[in-house]
Every structure is written in structure tokens, then in C-alpha cells.
């Protein structure tokens, strides 16, 4: 199949703060929405200024549908620096230059019945996981969902998962909701209880969390698909700026591009 990638100037449809420092942004683009798959992302250029210069990668959080037509998509983001701060100042009607959909998302081709998807999100890492959960549910799966955050406030999109009839198991570091602690602790005790699961783990979150997920998956003999982050310039595979170290089939390692071979990699292949 030929890759379809669009470079569009999209008017911002809606932007709301859903928690302090977290924003949900809606963009209308049937083109991007209809070819996007879970785990893919877009590059988003904030304003015409040369400062900041580079576009920012943002996962596709959910697809906006009407009568089963894919009309657009949402982005869920956290304000962490200059670019996201400027993005949060944008209002309805202003335009953003978007390139997408990009990257290789989660691989769901091998999903069959009797198989248990386990979805694990930490912090803003839940961004691509709602789209994933939707797709899994559409495929007739009922993923087990683990979500962790610093505090109840930062447990994002919980109701969205619930409206998919999923019941995320949650943890917060300050104990303000769910179990106090790390989401990987939750995951560990779950895996411990359900030994011999036929599951596969899908995870996104901060690097230390993903590293822990990879090692848990390995101990319990499960496969894992982890969505990684790296600084990006082009998002298209051209600049070779966004690489991570990946174990080769035979031996040694190679650098692979988060924007092209990733952002989703098999947990066992990643060299941390």
C-alpha cells in the first residue's frame, strides 16, 4: 500500500484545558482521520515564527466520527516547554500546519480471540492509548487497562475509557485516586495473579516506566509493544534525527527511527 501523508493547514476546531496544564485539541481532517491507525502521530507546527522552529510530534488521541464517518481527530497534550505553551494559547479558528499521519503504530494484525491485550499508560502517555482501546474494542477485544498518574487531576480521559465499557485499574503517586504507587506496580501484581496469560502489553509513558514494562513482559513471557519518544525534526524518516538503539536480529544493534520504524517498537528489541 502506498503511504498517504498529508501536509495541511487545519483550523483549530476546539481547544479545552481538561486539567491544569493539559489540553485537548480538535482538528478537522477527514483525510488524516480516515487513514490513521492507533499509535500514529502528526507533526504540528505552532505558528509561522522561526522561534520555535521545528514542528512538534503529537499522537492521535482519538478519531472524531459522525455517522461512522471519520471527520477529524483529537490531540491530548501536556504543556512542558515553549512550543506547547504557545500551542495552548491558540484559539478556535486559528490554523495549524499539520503533517500526518506518521509513523508505524501498534501492530494489531495478529490479534485473535482468546488473546488478552493489556494496555498500560503513564501520565501523558495515555494520549495514543484511547485510540488504541477504541480499535481493540471494535475488534471485539476487551483490553485490561492500567493507567497511572501523579495525582487524580492528571488521570486523563478516564471517563472516555469507561464509556468504552472498560474499567481501567488506576494508580496515582500521591494516592489521591486508585492505588498509591506506580502503574508498573499495579501491572506487576496483576501479572503475578494471572500467570499464564495469553496477553500482549501495549504501553506508552515515560522512559523509566516503559523500561520497567519491558522487563515485566520479559519475566512473564509476554510480548510488548512500546511507544517511544525522541526529539524529531522531520517526522518523515529523512533527517535521521530521532533514532533509538534497537537490537539486531542476528547480533549487535542498529539505530532505528522513532518517526518511521516507530514510534511503536517491540519491547524485547529496545536497547535502553
Amino acid at each position: 500500500m502506498e503511504k498517504r501523508i498529508y501536509h495541511l493547514s487545519l483550523p483549530l476546531r476546539k481547544q479545552n484545558s481538561i486539567a491544569p496544564g493539559y489540553w485537548l485539541l480538535s482538528l478537522k481532517s477527514a483525510q488524516i482521520a480516515s487513514v490513521a491507525t492507533p499509535g500514529q502521530f502528526v507533526m504540528l507546527k505552532i505558528g509561522k515564527s522561526f522561534d520555535p522552529l521545528l514542528p512538534r510530534p503529537m499522537s492521535i488521541h482519538s478519531i472524531i466520527k459522525e455517522d461512522n464517518h471519520r471527520l477529524g481527530f483529537t490531540i491530548l497534550y501536556k504543556v512542558v516547554g515553549k512550543g506547547t505553551r504557545l500551542l495552548a494559547e491558540k484559539r478556535s479558528g486559528e490554523s495549524l500546519a499539520i503533517v500526518g499521519p506518521l509513523g508505524t503504530g501498534f501492530n494489531l494484525n495478529h490479534i485473535a480471540s482468546g488473546y488478552e491485550p493489556i494496555v498500560v499508560g503513564g501520565g501523558i502517555g495515555i494520549a495514543p492509548l484511547l485510540f488504541l482501546a477504541h480499535e481493540l474494542v471494535e475488534k471485539g477485544q476487551t483490553p485490561t487497562v492500567f493507567l497511572g498518574a501523579n495525582s487524580q487531576e492528571e488521570l486523563l480521559a478516564l471517563d472516555e475509557f469507561e464509556s468504552l465499557r472498560l474499567t481501567p485499574k488506576v494508580s496515582t503517586e500521591d494516592g489521591s485516586k486508585g492505588v498509591k504507587g506506580m502503574v508498573t506496580d499495579l501491572l506487576a501484581s496483576y501479572l503475578d495473579d494471572s500467570k499464564g496469560s495469553q496477553g500482549e502489553i501495549f504501553a506508552c509513558g515515560p522512559a523509566p516506566m516503559l523500561k520497567k514494562v519491558a522487563s515485566l513482559a520479559k519475566s512473564y513471557g509476554l510480548k510488548s509493544q512500546l511507544s517511544l519518544e525522541q526529539r524529531m525534526a522531520c517526522g518523515l524518516g529523512a533527517c535521521l534525527g530521532c533514532v533509538v538503539k534497537i537490537r539486531n536480529k542476528n547480533s549487535g544493534h542498529s539505530y532505528q527511527r522513532v518517526c518511521t520504524e516507530g514510534p511503536v517498537f517491540n519491547g524485547e528489541d529496545i536497547i535502553w
Partner: protein
């Protein structure tokens, strides 16, 4: 008023014919195919491949890039798939597009360049070579080839002897007097000069107290360096008799025109591809529109047409 004829956009770089002066720059356009989903490569004047070596090169560990004010740093470490893989896997797809495919080559010793030139000489579909002399010369203790006029001469002459393809020599700006290097390359038989490559820079992450790049230093590119690139093109155009390809921070049709007024016969678009991935196509259209509006029949009339009196 009679309808104006379409202005002529084609340029000739001393043996290399381009349908228009807009070329995608090395390292910023992959092997071209990465941008194929976004536009018809056949509309561009040309494209330069990522720098190729005779071997597969893994490149530097990450982080490899970071943003700076109106610019970016990169230390990719010249990662590339190697000459043979390029010829067998990429070139067959690329030659389907009617654009000038310029292969950027580099090495660690003069011999690496010679081998690359020899290998590419008869290859169908290669329009020209661009010799990147901004690499450290391991035989000369790591000094960059392109910072020394006599090493530049020796290198370019050696490559010149091995190929009948048009030879673009790409100069580094990290020198006291770029016109001296330019003249060495000209004397050694370069058909044209591409300038500039990146400025050597550095960034530090205060929160970790570490360099932002794993390689510590990297190459600065983007709009930030445009005034330096424009100055070097201007100075060099006064000193050489071969065409110049301007590169460095170009991100609008006005920038293209500035470089041509300063003496460039064509331009390359680098970092701008990252923040505006359809820019090369837009520039072709906007340049034509500009010429039409200004009633200029041939783009070559812009070259060196700066008013200085």
C-alpha cells in the same frame, strides 16, 4: 497588454542542467523517497541525497538533534545505508522521477572519495556528484578536509580524475576565508560550488548539565545562519568563475531571490523541509509567480543582480 509568456526557470550549472533552481539539500530530504508522498519529485530542480559513503554507516548515538533560536543543531554522524544499498534499493525508484539526482559523497580519507566517484561514474540516473568536504580527514589528524586550501585541492583533483559527472563541491563555513577554499576547488576542476554546510555549534541542557547532543557539538542550520550563508555566497561569487549553489537558512521565495541576487545560480533548501515539508514545491511556483509579476523572462537575470552603487 499582451499575455506574458511563461518565464524561463531553467538553469545550467556548468554542465548540470536543472529545470528550475530549487534543489533539496543533502541530509534534509533523505533519499528523496521519504518526501515522495508529499509531492511530485519530478517538479523539483533537483535533489541531493543524504551523504553516502562506500560503507554502511551507523552514525552517532542519540540525542542527535536539538532546537536552537531560529535554528537547529544536528550530529547525525553521517549515518547512511552505504553506496551499494543506495544504488540497488533507492536509485531504481528515484530515477522514475524527472529531476536531477545529485549524490552527496563523503569519506574519511581521500581514497574513500575516489572510490565513491569511481563507483558512481557510469551509473544511470545520477546527474551529478556533490562532494562534502566538511568531514574530518583521519590521515591528517582529524582536521577537516575543507578547512585547508591545499587539502581541498588535492581531494577535488583526485575525485575530478575519476568521474565525468558534473562535480559540485560543498564547502564548510567554519573557515577564516571561504573564498580561498572556493578557489582551490575551482582550480582543481569543480563544476560548481555548494555553500554553505552547517556552522559548528553546541547546546547544553542546564537541568542535566550535559551537552544536548550525545556528540557534544553539532552543525547549526536553519534561518539563524542565513545571513552568514548569504555573505559567503556574495563574497565567493566575486572570486570564482564557476556557478554557486546557495544553501543556508532559505525558507521563502524572498530568500531564494536574495541568494540569486548575491550571485547564486541555484539554491538548496535544507532545514526548511523539516518545518514546512512542501516548501520546495511551493518555492518553484512562487519563484515563477515572482518572475511573472516582475516581468522577468528568465530566472538567470537575477543571478548577481544586486545593486551596489
Amino acid at each position: 497588454m499582451v499575455a506574458r509568456a511563461s518565464p524561463s526557470l531553467s538553469v545550467e550549472l556548468n554542465g548540470l542542467k536543472l529545470k528550475n533552481p530549487i534543489i533539496a539539500a543533502s541530509g534534509t530530504f533523505g533519499y528523496g523517497l521519504e518526501y515522495a508522498p508529499l509531492g511530485d519529485l519530478g517538479k523539483l530542480g533537483g535533489m541531493v541525497t543524504k551523504g553516502l559513503s562506500m560503507w554502511e554507516e551507523k552514525g552517532n548515538p542519540p540525542p542527535r538533534i536539538c532546537e536552537t533560536p531560529a535554528g537547529m543543531l544536528n550530529s547525525i554522524g553521517l549515518e547512511n545505508i552505504g553506496m551499494e544499498n543506495f544504488i540497488s534499493q533507492k536509485l531504481p525508484q528515484l530515477i522514475q522521477y524527472d529531476t536531477a539526482i545529485i549524490v552527496n559523497i563523503w569519506g574519511r580519507e581521500i581514497d574513500d572519495y575516489i572510490k565513491a566517484a569511481e563507483r558512481l561514474d557510469g551509473v544511470n540516473g545520477v546527474a551529478a556528484l556533490e562532494v562534502n568536504i566538511s568531514c574530518p580527514n583521519i590521515k591528517k589528524g582529524g582536521i577537516t578536509f575543507g578547512t585547508d586550501p591545499s587539502v581541498t585541492f588535492e581531494l577535488v583533483q583526485a575525485v575530478r580524475g575519476k568521474t565525468s559527472l558534473p562535480l559540485l563541491v560543498k564547502l564548510t563555513p567554519n573557515v577564516t576565508d571561504i573564498t580561498l577554499i572556493a578557489r582551490s576547488a575551482e582550480d582543481a576542476g569543480a563544476n560548481a560550488l555548494s555553500l554553505i554546510n552547517t556552522l559548528l555549534g553546541m547546546e547544553i541542557d542546564v537541568s542535566t548539565r550535559r551537552p544536548s547532543l550525545a556528540n557534544i557539538t553539532g552543525g547549526l542550520s536553519g534561518p539563524a545562519i542565513r545571513p552568514v550563508a548569504l555573505r559567503m555566497v556574495y563574497q565567493t561569487a566575486k572570486k570564482v568563475n564557476i556557478p554557486i549553489v546557495g544553501v543556508g537558512g532559505i525558507s521563502s521565495v524572498a530568500d531564494v531571490i536574495k541568494f540569486m541576487l548575491a550571485g547564486a545560480s541555484a539554491v538548496q533548501i535544507g532545514t526548511a523541509n523539516f518545518f514546512d515539508p512542501t516548501i520546495c514545491w511551493r518555492l518553484v511556483n512562487e519563484l515563477e509567480e515572482y518572475l511573472r509579476n516582475e516581468n522577468i523572462s528568465d530566472v538567470n537575470q537575477l543571478v548577481g543582480a544586486l545593486r551596489e552603487e
